[in-house]
């Protein structure tokens, strides 16, 4: 296992996407972890006298209209984004992957039913449907996680089914069947490990989408609620002051853009690194 990891890392270091994306992703995760132990100022600290300050030694990135420290809010926002995206992916994988595996192994009407339901869910634009779900369930961090998670389910179901179908054609599946294993057991013990590289790549992409969706929902006021910090909410609040304090919008905007870019590059790089065929062409 360790050999395999170091081998992947060895190939990865030759891949620019993997290195740059990986670096940004690690920094992003690092900042989020940092928020648990330290942030420059508590984000609940309202100092009206210090409001809308430009960057200075006390507030490295300045303050917002309540006098809260922007840097601290960005750091807390990173943590918040990660939690939402992470749990949402967990929901997507936890439900979507088994559905995809069942669809691929059973075929026939079971497959048809699961995949048509998938199509139905995918037919709605995900962000708009997430808005609908949070509108029904009520705004809040938990509900935005559920809304984003629901839209990860069909994505993972489809990717899993596609990968699984090609694995089911392999002879070692026939060998496993001839050893007396049931289809469900084969799905989890043989098919799933062979589709894992596709799933890992899909997860990094969904992670980026999840962060964007969370920012979008918070921007609309449907996601994370005050006083918790969220990049989307910061953008929303910055709107009012866009003319005389544009830095309020620039910082969270940059944070979102960089993180999503980093995750996408990382996902792309990871796909090339995990797929030996693509690796050889480089």
């Amino acid at each position: 296992m360790f050999n395999r990891l170091s081998e992947i890392l060895g190939h990865g270091l030759k891949n620019k996407n993997f290195v740059v994306g990986g670096f940004i992703t690690i920094v992003f995760f690092g900042i989020a972890l940092l928020s648990y132990v330290w942030s420059p100022h508590p984000i609940e600290d309202i100092n009206i006298s210090d409001k809308l300050l430009t960057p200075n030694t006390q507030y490295l990135l300045g303050t917002d209209h309540f006098g809260r420290d922007i840097l601290s809010m960005l750091i807390m926002g990173a943590k918040n984004s990660i939690i939402v995206a992470f749990v949402a992916i967990g929901i997507g994988i936890g439900i979507g992957v088994p559905l995809g595996l069942i669809a691929a192994s059973q075929g026939g009407w079971v497959d048809e039913l699961i995949m048509r339901f998938n199509d139905f869910t995918l037919a709605f634009p995900s962000l708009i449907s997430a808005i609908m779900i949070t509108a029904i369930l009520g705004p809040g961090a938990i509900n935005s996680i559920i809304a984003i998670g629901i839209f990860n389910i069909p994505v993972f179901a489809r990717v899993t089914r596609g990968g699984a179908l090609s694995i089911w054609e392999k002879e070692f599946i026939l060998a496993a069947l001839s050893a007396g294993k049931s289809k469900i057991r084969i799905s989890f013990e043989h098919v799933l490990p062979n589709t894992s590289s596709v799933l890992i790549v899909q997860a990094t992409i969904q992670f980026a989408i999840g962060i964007l969706a969370e920012a979008g929902l918070s921007y609309l006021g449907l996601g994370t609620q005050p006083p918790a910090a969220s990049w989307g909410k910061m953008l929303n609040e910055a709107q009012t002051f866009l003319h005389f304090a544009p830095q309020l919008a620039i910082y969270p905007g940059l944070a979102i853009a960089l993180t999503v870019l980093g995750l996408n590059l990382f996902g792309d790089g990871l796909r090339d690194v995990l797929d030996p065929k693509l690796r050889r062409n480089r």
Binding site: E171, A176, G180, H190
Partner: protein, 327 residues
């Protein structure tokens, strides 16, 4: 009671143009410890017969007839009951050792799978058993660890792992579907001897599927010659090879290259059976081998021959058996 008795096995494939009969009236039986060979050209239904026995054909295929394992018709069993027979009572070795092992699992994990499934053993016991199995297929654990992945092994070694997987539960019947086709000749020899030894050691019965008559001669006691899903000739290997009576069997043997014969001289050209395997979607009348048979007469075109006895334990489906020929 026979260990395995297959009676009137028929496999039909449902297509848009109606059902096609791919395997027709296949009868055979195996006693405990007996070794049966199934020979025929590509596409004659050898592998299909084997897959029908362990009911691993896709649902498009309908399997009819009786498949009696120790007197119980396993063709009537449901999927759950069948799972308890596969790997436990009947198991199978496949042709392509390169693809028949899961690339992401260690060989130890793959061999132990059917033990975990069919024998409720403790971890240490399973480990011991897997080591024993690897030893018995010639991959001693001190040199070949349990944690190797398939890509770290050669083709012959992988086929040994496949064999270890198949015999893990000491099944009553081992089906070997062209186990040596993908291997080179020297390794082929070793693998065949290994299978033969293991079958004898554990008292298993063997169904050896091959298109190679040499493999069949080396490993089996009984043989069944198939053509287009029908059994053309069957009997003890010795008798069939010595007194082959069906024109098709005759053709198969004539098509074996003989050492010393040059293919450049036209009189020594390698003999072939003219024509191709018939398209199963087309309707035919009479004996299915008629279009390619040099002995065909009117009766062959009119009606299908029944199974008739040439000798004790030697049956044939032909109106014009070639009697008295030495092979």
């Amino acid at each position: 009671m026979k260990l395995l008795q297959v009676e009137n096995l028929r496999v039909t494939l449902d297509t848009l143009d109606g059902p096609i009969e791919i395997i027709k009236e296949v009868d055979f039986s195996i006693e405990k410890g007996e070794r049966l060979g199934i020979v025929g050209e590509s596409g004659c239904g050898k592998s299909l017969t084997a897959l029908a026995i362990i009911s691993l054909l896709s649902p498009k295929f309908k399997v009819r007839g009786q498949i009696l394992l120790n007197g119980e018709n396993i063709n009537l069993l449901n999927e759950d009951q069948m799972c308890r027979i596969r790997g436990n009572k009947i198991s199978m070795i496949f042709q392509e050792p390169m693809t028949a092992l899961n690339p992401v699992k260690t060989i130890g994990a793959q061999i132990s799978e059917s033990l975990i499934l069919h024998r409720k053993m403790k971890k240490a016991q399973i480990r011991h058993e897997v080591e024993q199995l690897l030893y018995s297929v010639g991959l001693p654990v001190d040199r070949f660890g349990l944690n190797l992945y398939p890509h770290q092994l050669s083709g012959g070694q992988r086929q040994r792992v496949m064999i270890a997987m198949a015999i893990a539960c000491k099944p009553d019947i081992l089906i070997a579907d062209e186990p040596t086709t993908a291997l080179d000749v020297t390794v082929q020899e070793q693998i065949l001897e290994l299978i033969k030894d293991l079958v004898a050691k554990f008292g298993m019965s063997l169904i050896m599927i091959s298109h190679d008559l040499g493999v069949i001669a080396q490993t089996t006691q009984k043989v069944m010659i198939m053509y287009a899903g029908r059994v053309m000739e069957q009997g003890t290997t010795l008798h069939v090879f010595k007194h082959m009576s069906h024109p098709y069997t005759k053709g198969l043997f004539a098509a074996i290259p003989k050492p010393g014969s040059s293919q450049h001289k036209s009189k020594n050209r390698l003999s072939t059976i003219p024509g191709n395997v018939p398209d199963p979607t087309l309707a035919h009348k009479g004996c299915i081998f008629t279009p390619r048979c040099s002995f065909a007469s009117d009766i062959c075109r009119e009606s299908e021959p029944m199974q008739s006895d040439i000798a004790l334990d030697h049956h044939i489906r032909c109106f014009h058996p070639i009697i008295g020929n030495q092979g």
